[in-house]
Symmetry: C2
Subunit: 378 residues, 2 copies
């Protein structure tokens, strides 16, 4: 067996999810509960009747690649050869690390709190990596200075995620610009930024989040239709960047799974043909967020500003803050609410729990009330 697998810890999220009983309130789930529009599926089924279901080119249908590259919209990187269609954004992250990093030489710097697949993929690929934490005392506010200070002589890639899981924070343009300026000023080989933008459509400020790719030519952007369109099971994602890196990523993609599902690609082309559908669920999330904030305020909770995605980091009271895993276990055991311990997103998440607020409003409200009661217990 491959010994690197022993070095990959089982998921804390999965472990606590496995303890859920029927009737528990689930604020742990990382996927939309809203129903997707079935119309693109009807269209794709009609397409199968007409065309069968052959392979697409390895990198995906040229039309879809062009739609995606144009949608992501990185300056001078909007042609079909700037995008490869992947099996969800997860594969895009894998391809970026596998293709762009030389494991014998390069180091990757990962911004946390984060989805722990980033460091686990590095372990799987034998890539040296370090974590750089955003400040919990500052509610995990994105900070270019922290990232720039953490760069080492071998750092060749920074992995960041905006809008962020688990914090709900969005990297503002000013901080992204500071990051790009800092990287520009750095001598030697440019440091790439791998930007996971899978929550790109779920933002609650006035303007859409800016991508580091708009400001830094050495960026790779991962994304998918999973969260915007409630299509996690479609497994349709992308990696967008310079054509040379996209070609290298495609070489890996071809070897590891040939191509993404043709059916999923036809569904995606239907969706991109009416791009407004990508933003169609945003009002739903904005309404849910407003309710959530009202209930949390009423309950006296403290939370990090929710600027995007569908998560919220809630600060544990002092008597629980030393062990978020124990707190989440007690919350589930005694109050039957499933929340994710902050430590599941890196050491900097200790002292917090993450709520996923995609549940039904009644469940969400009851969950908040129970959390407040739990916090108030001695």
């Amino acid at each position: 067996m491959n010994p690197v697998l022993d070095g990959i810890a089982p998921s804390i999220i999965r472990a606590i999810n496995a303890r859920k009983r029927p009737g528990d309130i689930d604020l742990g789930l990382g996927e939309p509960t809203i129903r997707p529009d079935p119309c693109p599926f009807d269209a794709a089924t009609a397409w199968v009747r007409e065309n069968g279901l052959p392979y697409t080119p390895n990198a995906g249908f040229a039309r879809l690649r062009a739609q995606v590259a144009e949608y992501v919209g990185l300056p001078e990187r909007t042609a079909s050869d700037n995008a490869v269609i992947t099996v969800g954004s997860e594969e895009a992250l894998y391809l970026a690390l596998k293709a762009a990093i030389d494991p014998s030489r390069d180091e990757v710097l990962i911004v946390e709190p984060c989805y722990l697949a980033y460091p686990k993929l590095c372990v799987l690929e034998g890539i040296r990596h370090r974590m750089v934490a955003m400040d919990p005392a500052d509610d995990f506010c994105p900070s270019a200075a922290r990232v720039l200070d953490a760069l080492g002589p071998d750092t060749r890639m920074i992995v960041l995620n905006t809008p962020n899981n688990p914090t709900g924070r969005v990297w503002p343009e000013s901080e992204l610009r500071a990051l790009a300026d800092g990287l520009t000023a750095r001598p030697g080989e440019p440091v790439r930024v791998l930007s996971d933008e899978v929550y790109r459509e779920l933002y609650f400020g006035e303007a859409a989040p800016v991508s580091i790719g708009a400001l830094w030519p050495h960026a790779l952007v991962a994304g998918s239709l999973s969260k915007s369109n409630a299509l996690t099971g479609l497994r349709l994602g992308w990696l967008v960047g310079d054509a040379k890196t996209v070609a290298a990523a495609t070489k890996v993609h071809q070897l590891v799974n040939t191509a993404a599902s043709t059916f999923s690609q036809v569904v995606a082309m239907e969706i991109f043909a009416d791009r407004a559908t990508l933003a169609a669920h945003r009002p739903h999330y904005a309404g849910q967020r407003a309710k959530l904030e009202g209930w949390m305020r009423e309950a006296g909770l403290r939370w990090a500003p929710i600027e995007g995605a569908f998560y919220c980091m809630v600060r544990l009271p002092d008597h629980l803050a030393a062990d978020s895993l124990a707190a989440a276990e007690a919350l589930l055991e005694r109050h039957r609410v499933l929340a994710t311990p902050g430590v599941a997103f890196g050491d900097s998440g200790e002292g917090w729990i993450r709520l996923s607020w995609v549940a039904e409003p009644d469940d969400l409200r009851a969950g908040i009330e129970r959390i407040a009661r739990f916090f108030a217990e001695g």
Copy 2:
């Protein structure tokens, strides 16, 4: 960039395919031209209306895993935890190599002629590998003795493919038994066999091909619905084996792409619910094969026995046999027939060209006639 990518040669198949012009007869294609049954797609679309499209568990729906494990039917390995659902058989091959091999220690032995993704995946993963050729003088007849003779002290896995691409040969039970007996007799850690059985349903003898997994407990079987059901674009495959290795493969699968398409999995469950549909295309291929053999006999070609799959290795005449790539290029240039040079499947394929006989009968017949004319030229 990752320097291993430089060591992976571009595909010869792809290069010659790129030279095809409109109107050329395509006997190069590696996928069915028959149309798939659209009914499972209607059912899956109805399922989306009812259920949305959430993630499945990482290893796939438990029901589908059980259906697949039972279908593959390895003794004592027919439970759901003996199968992981993958993005085509290609991902199954990748997962088997990635999870089961220790690149610092183990060597892989690959039976050729073969699909060259096997050695390329080894290069991608930094896995030492050697090729062992079946004898061209014996029409690539599967030989356990050749494989057993080639085992080295560090060999920990044998990769074989039956029914075979490109040779059309099927490993007979007697040779598989000889292989299993030889492996049983070998002292030390057991050598795994990774058996690519993606053409499992396409056989032309009386009995279905036997799997090495029926005779050897340390086998891993890769397969998919791509060829049997003309669903290459579904990207729905599997790896079946002992539960421990399947769990390790699932750990990799989870990190590299989370899970296979939920939609594709629902389609697959529909297909497995009426398992006869997996064999439904066999009479079509049997009929096409009979026609092909008649035309090749008439044209005076020499070919290796076609026992399975939808390929045929045709021997080049002496004046062309030294360079199958040049022969295939000349055939395309002068007679407008695309065939794949045998060398694209390993050194042992030199002196042959592979015909894929999924084309329309008129095209196939015309292609054979043109090949005969080409062979007859001085």
